[in-house]
Amino acid sequence: MGKNLVGNHIRKLRFNHDEMTQQQLADKVGVTRQTIVALEKGNYSPSLELAFRIAHAFNLPLEEVFFYGDNTKV
């Protein structure tokens, strides 16, 4: 849809965390694998609660997982 301004580093972070699979991350944060796929593709901006849960799963602050702005500039 091209209007999501919330980007993320989930894909990169999964690989840095023992090559965690999308399903493993989904189980950890309580969503379906398809939602992780949508997040990584930039097709969905998560709720604040889910964003915090994902950041918590990687033991990182929110701003190191998610960023606000045009993807091409980051």
Binding site: M1, G30, V31, Q34
Partner: protein, 148 residues
């Protein structure tokens, strides 16, 4: 293609097949009495009621078959719950579906204002019910494919 995308397509195809095959089955039974006869209204009433029941049962059976085929072909389990993305898409699909049905309802009422036979109103209502179902499935597919 994800589970939800495939499910939306299956839902769309099954809704169309059920509606078309049911119409083809019921059409020859259309009463030959006058347009406003009680028998015609009984026919239209039973058409809507039976279609609703048949549609629910058929959707459940098709959903079970789809899940079995999905598990066998992809060796992946279907999601056991609906998360926030699913709920958001469900809401958008419901909104669009409801909008289409209400539009059909208003057109059906409009047909009465311009002195159309009561059968026309029934047919518009039945068709708008079908189109609203299709709209819901297409909306789900679109949002799962293109994002929210």
């Amino acid at each position: 293609m994800t589970y939800q995308e495939k499910k939306s397509i299956v839902s769309l195809i099954s809704a169309t097949l059920i509606f078309v095959s049911y119409c083809l089955y019921m059409y020859p039974q259309y009463p030959e009495e006058g347009l406003e006869s009680i028998e015609t209204f009984r026919y239209l009433g039973s058409f809507v009621l039976i279609l609703t029941l048949v549609s629910i049962v058929a959707h459940i059976i098709i959903s079970i078959i789809f899940n079995i085929v999905f598990r066998i072909t992809t060796r992946e389990k279907e999601p056991k719950f609906a998360d926030e993305l699913d709920k958001l898409i469900e809401l958008k699909a419901f909104r669009n579906s409801f909008f289409v049905f209400i539009l059909g309802f208003l057109i059906a009422m409009g047909s009465l204002i311009i002195y159309q036979p009561l059968q026309v109103m029934f047919i518009i209502l039945i068709i708008s019910g079908f189109i609203s179902d299709v709209t819901g499935s297409i909306t789900k597919f679109y949002h799962y494919r293109r994002g929210v």
